[in-house]
């Protein structure tokens, strides 16, 4: 029933963008503001505190470093997926999407271990402001990882049908999801040193 919405797949000449690309960048701009507010809160807590612990004294740096590698790897796999889809290689592209999803799982499992260890020592958000902001920021970041994973799962399984109906539209969806995923990686790139290493 859907009437054709212009520029869903092909780019509008004057902007050079297709709708989804513009849409995802706008969404990322809003996410920039969301995490910005949290970083602002972190700074205000830290500068207002009588004493603020160094992250490396309280948090598991090796685990988080591993997680950083995992997330960076997942950023590579998603962009390789996109490249392979553009080459027409659906099987390889899908394999890289699955790798991305797996990295996401890996990240969440490591995070669960991290949180679990803390909880077993009764270190909850209420413990002090450091833990409060640590759990809140990494928790919200983790929710974003899960959100991305859900979309990848859709593209790998039910959503893969679109490859045969409208190939370019499918490739665009991989691209926009990838952009979101890279942003989630970007947030972690700043979150990791800020919370764990300073």
């Amino acid at each position: 029933m859907e009437m054709e919405i212009p520029y869903t797949v092909e780019e509008r000449p004057d902007t050079g963008l297709y709708n989804g690309k513009l849409g995802i960048w706008l969404f990322l701009a809003s996410e920039f503001m969301l995490f910005g507010a949290l970083f602002s809160a972190l700074i205000m807590m830290r500068t207002g505190a009588i004493s603020w612990p160094h992250g490396y004294t309280l948090l598991n740096v090796p685990l988080a470093t591993l997680n950083t590698f995992v997330l960076i790897a997942s950023s590579v796999t998603v962009v390789l997926a996109w490249a392979n889809f553009r080459l027409g290689d659906f099987a390889k592209g899908r394999m890289y999407l699955i790798a991305t999803l797996a990295c996401g799982f890996g990240f969440m499992i490591i995070k669960a271990i991290e949180y679990g260890t803390k909880f077993s020592h009764h270190l909850y958000p209420a413990e002090n402001n450091f833990y409060a902001i640590y759990y809140t920021m990494t928790g919200l970041h983790g929710l974003h990882v899960v959100g991305g994973m859900i979309v990848f799962a859709y593209l790998i399984w039910p959503g893969a049908k679109l490859w045969s109906h409208d190939r370019q539209r499918y490739i665009n969806r991989v691209e926009t999801t990838g952009l979101y995923w890279h942003f989630v990686d970007l947030v972690w790139i700043f979150l990791f040193p800020t919370l764990y290493l300073l």
């Binding site: 503001m33 995490f35 902001i133």
Partner: protein, 623 residues
């Protein structure tokens, strides 16, 4: 023998029974044909989970208008208490429950709940969904010549995130401890130690903010990407510009509030101390938390959104007024370019004035000077826009229909609202006026006889496009004049009370304070005006529903307007795709009485001006 009644069906005459059979057969055949072409949709897909921007716009409108009525009802309860403090509320007093109003007499906590909920509902569940969700969704794609929004499914998701958010907020009345009562501003530490209702508020806000974010992405992409060929930015109707800037405000200003809401939820549910200072003692008990938090962090993050939010409340209204004025003066808007640049500048400036809501928090002189300066600067673009609208009337051939009456009244009312903001934006005067009724008077003038009047103008103006029928002008004028008089009766005395020093959020209207004595009688006057204002809405409600079914039928362009939604689409527009053929634009949006052409008005999408052509009715040609 009596002649049996015959019904004409097509070319034949048949009995009623046969006619019924024939009708059912025809409908069945039609549905079959639609299904074959893949067009059939269940009732649910067509009217409930629709992805058509017009249906979604109507959903937003009906929902938002309902919420506005609910918020209005809460205000009436408050005004009873303010006019007759401690007196049992007539009629509904017994229905409010013992926890809220034992013996029908309102408890202070319930008054505070009503205050917090009235503000929250009016701003987030009423005005923004109506101005942006309803008017924006319905009109913008039509005005830019698009078949729908850029992301129709996302549009549906927006509405279906908004509705649960609104329901959650309303459900808070049923929570143990009642609805949130820490103001619509939810300042900690009070909001953190408040009862469960506050959690409902926070969760509801997360839903609403999500809905808003999805919507704003949709609006921006739609306006940038789906403009018809020939529709350059400077040919856009001002309404579309207003919606574009509004969408950017929502996109970038709401996320900090979402972050703050998460932090407050953590404080409430996980006992963190983002906003909780050390050494807090509540009811003689030390609060067992880590402490070290800062209540001002909430205020900064809240107002970082809430200031741009007030421009979200006014910009779509200015957009509607501009459309109605251009159409009913039969001449182009004066200073269109200035209005556009002013709007964009206003959008940017709205992000750097927020702390003028925090002058009384102990900020230093440097910071105070900064925010006073930016606040004074931001008044300039508002004045530019209002002045341009006033000047647009000069030399016009004014048609005093109902939408135009609301638009004309909007101008001085918004003027009063805007001017009374100036002393609030100057820290020295704000010392006296902060948290008094002066503030309430100021912002209500901008939003009530300001934005809401613009909403009414929009409803009367676009009703024929949505329904194919006109609303009654007689009932409309009745609605207008009574509303105008009584709304001023409700809000003007607030300036007087505020200047006398009467604080806001007082459950007894200031009764206990000596300085309020001389102005206390105004409470009764305002309350009576409020009840009369309620009655003034009756002609509107009757008109709205009656005209839907029995209003005078009209063609596609009853207002002889130039913009595409009128001139190129039928009333109501084509179900899927809006236009029989997508329009191409050839000129600006307000070519009324164009100088070199032989016509009274020249729609944007019509190719040439000499003589009637597609979209240009005969009577548009000058005699």
């Amino acid at each position: 023998m009596a002649v049996k009644r015959q019904i004409r069906v097509g070319k034949s005459w048949m009995s009623p029974k046969e006619a019924e059979v024939a009708l059912r057969e025809a409908l069945r055949a039609q549905k079959e044909e639609e299904r074959a072409h893949g067009h059939a949709h269940s009732f649910w897909r067509t009217y409930v989970f629709s992805i058509d921007h017009k249906v979604i716009g109507i959903q937003y409108a009906l929902t938002a208008l309902s919420f506005l009525l609910i918020g209005f009802g809460m205000m009436l309860l408050m005004r009873w208490q303010l006019g007759w403090p401690g007196q049992p509320i007539p009629g509904v007093g017994g229905m409010l429950g013992e926890a809220n109003a034992p013996g029908g007499i309102m408890l202070p906590e319930f008054y505070n709940s009503l205050g917090a909920m009235h503000g929250t509902i009016m701003v987030f569940l009423g005005i923004v969904p109506l101005a942006v969700g309803a008017f924006g969704n319905y009109v913008v794609p039509l005005q830019i010549g698009a078949p729908d929004m850029a992301f129709p499914k996302l549009n549906m998701a927006s509405y279906w995130t908004f509705l649960p958010g609104g329901v959650i907020i309303l459900l808070s009345f049923l929570a143990p401890g009642g609805a949130p009562n820490s103001g619509w501003t939810s300042y900690p530490p009070l909001s953190v130690i408040a009862t469960h209702g506050q959690t409902f508020w926070l969760v509801g806000m997360v839903f609403l903010i999500t809905s808003s974010l999805l919507g704003s992405v949709n609006f921006i992409v739609t306006i940038i990407q789906l403009r018809a060929p020939g529709l350059t930015y400077m040919r856009l109707p001002f309404f579309v510009w207003a919606q574009l800037v509004t969408a950017f405000l929502l996109l970038l200003a709401f996320p900090p509030l979402e972050a703050a809401a998460v932090l407050q939820l953590m404080d409430r549910l996980a006992d963190t101390s983002f906003f909780m200072p050390s050494g807090l003692v509540v009811g003689g008990q030390v609060v067992e938390i880590a402490g070290g938090g800062n209540p001002l962090l909430w205020q900064h993050l809240f107002w970082f959104l809430a200031h741009p939010e007030v421009y979200v409340l006014i910009l779509p209204a200015l957009g509607i007024i501009a459309e109605v004025i251009a159409n009913n003066t039969r001449k182009p808007l004066w200073g269109y370019r200035a209005m556009v640049f002013a709007t964009v500048f206003l959008g940017f400036m709205s992000f750097v004035v927020w702390a003028h809501h925090m002058f009384m928090t102990g900020m230093g002189t440097a910071l105070s000077a900064f925010f006073q300066t930016t606040t004074m600067i931001i008044s300039v673009p508002s004045v530019v826009i209002l002045t341009a609208l006033f000047i647009s009337l000069w030399g016009g051939s004014i048609r005093f229909n109902t939408p135009m009456l609301f638009a004309l009244a909007f101008l001085p009312m918004f003027g009063i609202g805007g001017l009374t903001g100036l002393p609030l934006g100057l820290a020295a005067a704000d010392i006296h006026l902060h948290d008094t009724y002066y503030v309430i008077g100021h912002f209500h003038y901008v939003v009530a006889p300001g934005t809401i009047f613009a909403m009414f103008a929009g409803i009367y103006y676009w009703f024929p496009k949505v329904t194919g029928r006109k609303m009654s002008d007689k009932l409309g004028k009745m609605h207008f004049w009574t509303s105008l008089v009584f709304i001023n009766g409700v809000f003007f005395p607030m300036f007087i009370q505020g200047l006398a020093g009467v604080s806001r959020r007082l459950w007894d209207g200031g009764e206990q304070y000596a300085h309020a004595g001389p102005v206390l009688h105004l409470n009764k006057f305002m309350s009576i005006s409020a009840f009369l204002l309620l009655i003034a809405q009756v002609p509107f409600l009757i008109n709205f529903f009656k005209s839907m079914f029995w209003g005078e039928k009209v063609g596609s362009n009853p207002w002889d307007a130039t913009t595409i939604e009128w001139a190129a689409a039928p009333s109501p527009p084509v179900a899927h795709g809006n236009f029989h053929e997508l329009p191409v634009v050839h000129r600006g949006p307000y070519e009324y009485n164009p100088p070199d052409e032989n016509v009274e008005f020249l729609p944007q999408h019509v190719a040439s001006g000499s003589g009637p052509g597609p979209g240009l009715p005969q009577h548009a040609v000058a005699p």
